[in-house]
């Protein structure tokens, strides 16, 4: 009897190991395929000196005269991110209650909203920015709208999942008093989820700062746009300053965001 069990176990191990081998072969094939597609060739790195030369010539002689402009534009970038996050927060919070399984009034509402949110999420900000340019023309506003719409998609999903995973205990307690369903949501769910919603909103603000840099490349204002202009005019000494300012800004924002997120939870 025991022998039979042991045999069965061996068999399972054998199949499991075989599966592992297939998995590894699959992974390696995937890697080779991707390397081919990207023309990845280690031999090309022998010319790495070119990059070093380029960096030495341009980046090591930064043109500091552009610093005030770069800082001003960075502030605009941050403002774009703030607007794009707060607008999305205001829209996403109510939507997420309709898009969470446990608080949605009907499964069809839940399904429709989840589909809409994943559509908004899957379209990159840059596409929305280009779509809005004919309406609001080039500039920060296009960036704000693009960020906001993408953020609604991301936040709506995140928040509704937070709502779905809320502790059932307080909900049961409020239900047991005979309170209406809306009150159960207001007192049994909302107070638990607020810290998590705020924490995620701050994280999205950090992400939005980086995203609005990229939006600048298509003309949505801010330090990203400044960088792209300098790049196109081959003013690498100014590009160097832009990059340093961007690095400083992202580090500071992530640091502050991290502190705030630890505080709210």
């Amino acid at each position: 009897m025991i022998k039979a069990v042991a045999k069965e176990k061996d068999k399972q191990n054998y199949i499991f190991n075989n599966r592992k081998v297939y998995l590894w072969i699959g992974l390696i094939l995937l890697l080779v395929w991707s390397a081919k597609g990207t023309k990845f060739n280690p031999l090309l790195f022998k010319d790495f000196g070119n990059t070093l030369d380029f960096v030495r010539k341009s980046f090591l002689k930064p043109d500091w005269s552009v610093l005030p402009v770069a800082i001003n534009q960075s502030i605009i970038t941050i403002q774009i991110a703030i607007m794009g996050t707060v607008l999305a927060l205001v829209v996403a919070v109510p939507i997420s209650f309709f898009a969470a399984k446990n608080t949605s009034p009907h499964w069809s509402v839940y399904g429709t909203l989840r589909a809409l949110l994943s559509f908004l999420r899957s379209v990159p900000e840059i596409v929305f920015a280009l779509v809005f340019v004919p309406t609001v023309s080039l500039g920060p506003l296009a960036g704000v709208l693009a960020l906001a719409i993408h953020n609604i998609g991301v936040m709506g999903k995140l928040f509704s999942e937070i709502i779905e995973s809320a502790d059932i205990g307080p909900q049961e307690a409020v239900t047991a008093t005979g309170a209406k369903r809306s009150i159960v949501i207001l007192y049994g769910i909302l107070p638990q989820v607020i810290p998590h919603i705020l924490s995620n909103a701050f994280y999205r603000l950090e992400v939005s700062v980086r995203a609005s840099l990229v939006l600048g490349l298509v003309g949505a204002g801010g330090v990203g746009q400044l960088l792209s202009i300098h790049f196109k005019m081959f003013q690498y000494n100014k590009v160097a300053v832009d990059c340093l300012v961007i690095m400083a800004m992202v580090i500071v924002i992530d640091y502050i965001g991290g502190i705030i997120r630890r505080r709210v939870i």
Binding site: T175, A176, G178, A179, K180, P195
Partner: protein
């Protein structure tokens, strides 16, 4: 009869085991009942079927001779106001003060606007203060609940159930997260409320000792069936083994 259960059964997943099987019980007004049983024996399911936090698969519950198993919507909500509930994890609303948590017990009687704008009727605030006084927390009215100890949090939970002015209080292992001394204090408090206000208590417990010293009637559940129903003095070693086998 205050509460009657007829052939009550609950099956969470079709064709799988019954969490409760053919429960028949009559409960009189003012009784203090302890429910004993292993974890997973169906104790929690049993008390949740009474206030319909869980819907039984079969059978009926009668409250004051009226059938409540088929209630839905508004009538169900109004029925629940008669039954307070306390929990092992207290289930207070976080980031909210003690008084508001107690007032939640009145929410079944208030309009959405009154709750939303915190315009609680004076009588309700008075009820909440009296309840806090009775559980010995009158000095803690404005404290955030998370700053209280476990025993104090459970007292807030009891005050919340009290302001419902219920006929029954259900307890889902209300003292299982407390130290032995605090557990006894909380049980004494429940006993005192049971006597002074004639509120029926149906309390799930893990401790045979507590059940014996505080209740007038003990119900033992094993794998969804009632295996003991009687006075504490009749719960001998044999019967205890029956419940916990």
């Amino acid at each position: 009869m205050l509460l009657q259960l007829e052939n009550l059964s609950k099956q969470y997943v079709k064709d799988e085991v019954f969490a409760l099987k053919n429960i028949n019980l009559s409960i009189k007004e003012g009784e203090f009942i302890s429910v004993l049983g292993l974890s997973g024996s169906g104790k929690s399911t049993f008390i949740r079927c009474i206030n319909r936090l869980i819907n039984p698969t079969e059978g009926k519950v009668f409250f004051e001779e009226k059938e409540v198993t088929s209630l839905e919507g508004e009538p169900l909500r109004l029925y629940r106001r008669n039954i307070g509930m306390i929990f092992q994890q207290y289930n207070l609303v976080p980031r909210t003060d003690v008084l508001t948590n107690v007032l939640i017990g009145r929410f079944g009687n208030l309009s959405v606007a009154e709750i939303l704008f915190k315009k609680y009727p004076k009588e309700d605030i008075k009820l909440a203060e009296e309840a806090l006084n009775q559980v010995g927390l009158s000095k803690y009215t404005n404290r955030q609940v998370k700053t209280l100890s476990g025993g104090q949090q459970q007292r807030v939970g009891i005050a919340r159930a009290l302001v419902q002015q219920p006929k029954i209080i259900l307890g889902d292992e209300p003292v299982s997260s407390l130290d032995p001394v605090t557990a006894k204090e909380v049980m004494s408090l429940l006993r005192e409320i049971n006597k002074s206000k004639n509120i029926t208590m149906i309390i799930n417990l893990h401790s045979v000792e507590l059940a014996k010293s505080f209740s007038e009637r003990i119900i033992g559940i094993n794998t969804g069936k009632i295996v003991f129903d009687g006075k504490p003095e009749n719960l001998d070693e044999n019967e205890i083994n029956n419940i916990y086998k």
